[in-house]
């Protein structure tokens, strides 16, 4: 047993903090801190800054542009970026498509996509979910049919984050209709500017636009766009999930909340929040901070664990607790803001703010509402509980 960050890890955290302090543009951080979804241009600018330092793709193998960091270093990097209000990078491209291409992709696909992803010139969305295939992903109906040297893709994808700004979709489609549900799937890359692709925006509860539905109508792509062997898509999807076991804990975001709430309580108390209520809010904050401390060590335990059923259960526990903590954190912030949390602010509403609102208010309600989505995406809490039952108890 060795339960301490090593001297190298502490030095690494210093290095990351220093780099961010020197390179993250202040307006970008201020905008990110508000809590609205980051638009592609802002995220791409940050990713290019990271890429110049060689830090755009920590989860890739070194020979393809990765950093060679340990899992703990990758976690430290994610936490420091979160704390510093750096925009979240395009996870679909950098944490999903990249690793899958590195592991399963042909040399031609790697050649074509890896470098553009690192440069933020190729932007991906994920085409997994469908109207009839949410939690039951394996029942998806989108089909990719071989036609000469091409595949022709027809189907209907939904909840597609960044579908409206992406250049490509990594699409999970059925290539063998006869096989059992999981066995007949493949991952295939589609260009979003194909005339068979129609993107329709979905406005969400948080008042923002980040997800879409995507109609695929006879989208013709070269057979080489299919990743790996046909009908191995489910294996690739499982590889992805095993690859990113701790992201759903949202530690960077949680650290950000824990760090900034005390200052907000102080400011509100100075502006007239009664002392007894301020005290009650500070106690809630301390209670949250303690849970986040435990969650951080759950992340470290999962990162240190050998992959396996038990680690999968702990990763699912992280996801459930992460979403719960985010909601508590965001709700605590709303409680601190009080009546200032009532006005609706859109992503483009800058100052002047409605009378009485502090600059801290915009984005708070948006973010609170968004964290309800965290109880759903990446496997709903109920799916996670099922994983835990099967892995630990059954």
């Amino acid at each position: 047993m060795n339960l301490a960050f090593s001297a190298e890890e502490k030095a690494f955290a210093e290095e990351v903090r220093g780099f961010i302090a020197d390179n993250l543009p202040a307006p970008m951080a201020a905008r990110e801190a508000m809590g609205f979804h980051a638009e592609r241009a802002r995220v791409a600018e940050w990713q290019r800054i990271l890429n110049r330092r060689g830090w755009a793709a920590p989860s890739w193998p070194v020979e393809h542009g990765g950093t060679g960091w340990t899992p703990v270093q990758r976690y430290i990097f994610e936490r420091e970026c979160g704390l510093a209000n750096a925009p979240e990078v395009n996870l679909i491209s950098l944490s999903m498509v990249g690793p899958v291409l590195c592991r399963f992709g042909s040399p031609a696909l790697r050649e074509r996509f890896l470098e553009p992803i690192l440069r933020s010139d190729a932007w991906f969305c994920q085409g997994f979910s469908e109207p009839e295939a949410g939690s039951d992903l394996a029942s998806l109906r989108t089909r990719a049919v071989r036609d000469g040297n091409d595949y022709v893709v027809d189907g209907h994808k939904i909840w597609t984050t960044d579908g409206h700004v992406a250049d490509f979709m990594i699409c999970l489609a059925r290539t063998d209709p006869e096989a059992r549900p999981q066995a007949g799937l493949s991952m295939i890359i589609l260009p979003m500017d194909d005339r068979g692709v129609t993107v329709r925006p979905i406005r969400t509860l948080d008042g923002d636009h980040h997800i879409n539905e995507v109609f695929l109508d006879g989208v013709r792509v070269p057979a080489g766009n299919l990743i790996g062997e046909p009908n191995t898509g489910w294996t690739q999807a499982k590889y992805l999930l095993a690859h990113e076991r701790t992201h759903n804990a949202y530690m960077g975001m949680l650290c950000r909340y824990v760090a900034r709430i005390p200052g907000l309580v102080d400011a509100e108390e100075a502006a007239g929040l009664p002392a007894g209520q301020a005290e009650a809010l500070r106690r809630r904050h301390a209670r949250l901070a303690i849970d986040v401390e435990a969650l951080e060590w759950s992340v470290l335990r999962v990162l240190a664990a050998e992959p396996g059923a038990r680690a999968a259960a702990s990763a699912s526990a992280l996801s459930v607790r992460g979403a719960r903590c985010l909601l508590r954190a965001a709700d605590l912030e709303l409680a601190v803001l009080g009546p200032q949390a009532v006005p609706r602010f859109g992503p483009d509403d800058g100052p002047p703010l409605p009378a009485g609102a502090t600059a801290a208010a915009p984005g708070r309600t948006t973010q609170y509402l968004y964290w309800w989505a965290a109880t759903i995406f990446g496997g709903s809490d109920e799916i996670q509980r099922g994983i835990i039952w099967n892995a630990v108890f059954r």
Binding site: M1, N2, L3, A4, F5, V72, R282, R283, A286, R287, I290, D291, E293, A294, L295, E296, W297, S298, L300, R301, L303, A304, A305, A313, S314, A317, V320, R321, E382, Q384, R385, G386, I388, W389, V392, F393, R394
Partner: protein
């Protein structure tokens, strides 16, 4: 970082589990020969000098097995107090503890003073020795002990005294705790102590630091108990049949158990975190222990209570073992400060 047990730690755990399974709550007599009473004693006093991770590992197994909960008092806290505070008598007292010849019981808390460590119990100089006046409560092993470690005001500071629980001027009231363990309260009516009764000078900080290792052991004990209660519940759901199928086939019950896993996993992480803080600075360590206490006992009753609930009526019987974990939680959570106390301490220590 490496969270896997070393081979020595795995041996310690496996050996403890085997022994405690058969010993039930009668094991203390053999703790000495197993070396468990020497574990926390530093090597320079003839002990094993085990680190806090090993102590927590033992405590975890004791919690699983519902072993006497006073290990944290008699084998951790008492040892730390004597080690830190006692002068001339340090080695002799520690030897006595290690050999099982002496059973020391810390008596730090006082009636109606919650968890305050600045004593109102006082020692007045009297005829070359001392006269002890005041009262102490919640003394684990207060019935079996042959030596109380009493904190008392002395000359404007705090002294730690070794007091014969059967001596003149000492009044003992023993009672059952909710979990069936035995506690005692003590009143001191000018109890005469000879000069050697004063072990040495203490301070709230010294007492807190000695307590912190014991606190972590209490948390680890609870963690072991909660994980065992969860296992028992899963086993029960798989064997109990209703509506023509095992209860484990019902998703509502699967998810209830999964939620218990989520909570218990967080407690385990918090214990690891606090263990790691023992390698760091004072403030971080103290804060991490309070954080761990809040995390552990913020969840303990709900977890143990759900283990009872998921068993149905059989879980509510005194005879069925699973309910003992709930009772143990109710006592443990008030032993060395409670959730409110440690939340305040955590906030006070914020840097």
């Amino acid at each position: 970082m490496d969270f896997t047990l070393s081979s020595e730690q795995a041996m310690l755990r496996d050996g403890a589990r085997r022994f405690l399974e058969s010993a039930g709550d009668k094991g203390w007599a053999r703790y000495a020969e197993l070396g468990w009473l020497a574990a926390a004693v530093p090597e320079d006093a003839g002990g094993l000098g085990a680190d806090v991770a090993d102590m927590a590992l033992l405590a975890e197994e004791m919690g699983r097995a519902l072993a006497p909960p006073s290990f944290a008092d008699g084998a951790v806290l008492a040892v730390r107090l004597v080690d830190r505070i006692a002068g001339a008598t340090r080695r002799a007292l520690l030897s006595g503890v290690m050999e099982g010849a002496r059973r020391l019981a810390p008596a730090l808390y006082e009636p109606r003073r919650r968890y305050a460590l600045s004593p109102e119990t006082r020692a007045d100089r009297s005829g070359g020795g001392y006269a002890l006046s005041g009262a102490k409560v919640l003394v684990a092993d207060g019935e079996a002990t042959d030596g109380l470690l009493v904190s008392a005001a002395l000359d404007g500071g705090i002294g730690l005294f070794l007091v014969d629980p059967a001596g003149p001027g000492v009044e003992r009231r023993a009672y059952d705790a909710v979990d069936g363990s035995r506690f005692a309260d003590f009143a001191f009516h000018g109890a005469p102590l000879d000069p050697a009764g004063l072990l040495g000078a203490a301070s709230p900080e010294i007492l807190e630091d000695a307590l912190d290792e014991a606190r972590l052991c209490v948390c680890a004990d609870m963690l072991g108990g909660l994980e065992r209660a969860m296992e028992m519940t899963a086993d029960y759901l798989k064997t109990r049949t209703q509506f023509g199928q095992p209860l484990a086939g019902f998703q509502a019950l699967q998810h209830a158990l999964a939620d218990m896993f989520v909570e218990a996993d967080a407690v385990r992480s918090s214990v690891f975190r606090a263990l790691s803080a023992f390698g760091g600075d004072d403030r971080s360590r103290r804060r991490a222990v309070s954080s761990c206490w809040v995390e552990t006992f913020g969840a303990a009753k709900q977890l143990a209570g759900m283990a009872v609930h998921l068993h149905g009526a059989i879980g509510f019987t005194e005879e069925y073992r699973v309910g003992q974990y709930l009772r143990r939680a109710m006592v443990a959570e008030r032993r060395f400060g409670d959730v409110e106390h440690h939340l305040d301490r955590y906030r006070t220590l914020a840097g």
